[in-house]
Symmetry: C2
Subunit: 188 residues, 2 copies
């Protein structure tokens, strides 16, 4: 019995983007989402806890990859090395093929405060996970918290630039450029 | 007719802290809040749009003071001068007398995800307002957005340190120390 049919998750995600844009987020039901993706409601709930979560399932993976990268950095890594390590791991997940989906998702989010709130919660959770991972690498927890704030701030701004940019831009490169900009923003 | 009786807002805030801690946020009604503060429900709604907002009314003022400070900075100010200007304006609002309230408020927030969400929204709004104010000072908008991310990140972390610190710590000083820490977090 194939419970986790390949492609179902992607189909549900595409269906959510379509329906949230067509009907609005509040008006869309899980039954409609499931129908549009060609699955039952019961199948929907095997993948996602609620309709909001469909657009945020990817954030689990972001967090895992980022934490794994920090954990597997060479021993004795400085916090100034862990920050770009974490950012590169995030950036590599957003390949050029993901941009069209990411742009459409962004447009749906901008129209819907409830989705923006969930996005802020996910970013806060990413930040907390990163702070913890950095602190585990022998960094003072307060310093790790500040590093995580900076890293997630760089990610947010660079992600916005990436969404707006021409086709050939690369999130890893944008994040590195933003990191290099930082000292000039705080040093007189 | 004195509609805005002195102290009513503070009494409602104190009542909210007490009742959210005693009964939980969900269980507390506006009627109970008003009664505890010795006012009518109607009076409550002259001050706040909902029970959640009682703990966030101060954030309007934070935003106004911060934006005003950036706007009134000397002409030709660099972004590296506007960031500490904005932070100092924020920090000065949190005097030592405000700490006991701020600590109790934090404890209530930590127990209540719905309040944490509102806090994240307020921080996002603070960030957007700061980015706009900095961009109005002849700074490239993307650079202004990055500066605002950094500034609000420094505020968040420093505010946590301030809440946890001994009585004589000062938020302005904590923020300056965090700003000074930043370059070392990103430079190898």
């Amino acid at each position: 019995m194939v419970r986790w049919a390949p492609g179902v998750e992607d189909r549900l995600r595409a269906a959510a983007l379509e329906l949230f844009a067509e009907l609005g987020f509040e008006q869309t039901t899980v039954a409609q989402l499931a129908a549009r993706a060609g699955v039952t409601e019961r199948t929907f709930y095997r993948y996602f806890t609620d309709k909001r979560e469909v657009l945020f399932a990817g954030s689990e993976r972001l967090q895992q990859e980022m934490v794994a990268a920090v954990r597997s950095a060479p021993s004795g890594s400085l916090v100034s090395e862990l920050v770009p390590t974490a950012l590169d791991a995030l950036g590599q997940l957003f390949t050029a093929e993901r941009r069209p989906y990411a742009r459409r998702r962004q447009a749906v989010l901008q129209a819907q405060p409830a989705l923006q709130e969930r996005e802020l919660l996910k970013l806060a959770s990413l930040k907390a996970a990163l702070a913890e991972a950095i602190a585990e690498r022998d960094v003072d927890p307060e310093r790790a918290a500040l590093a995580a704030e900076v890293a997630v701030g760089v990610f947010s701004v660079s992600f916005g630039r990436w969404l707006a940019a021409e086709e050939d831009s690369d999130l890893v490169a944008l994040q590195r450029a933003a990191l290099a900009e930082l000292p000039g923003l705080v040093h007189r």
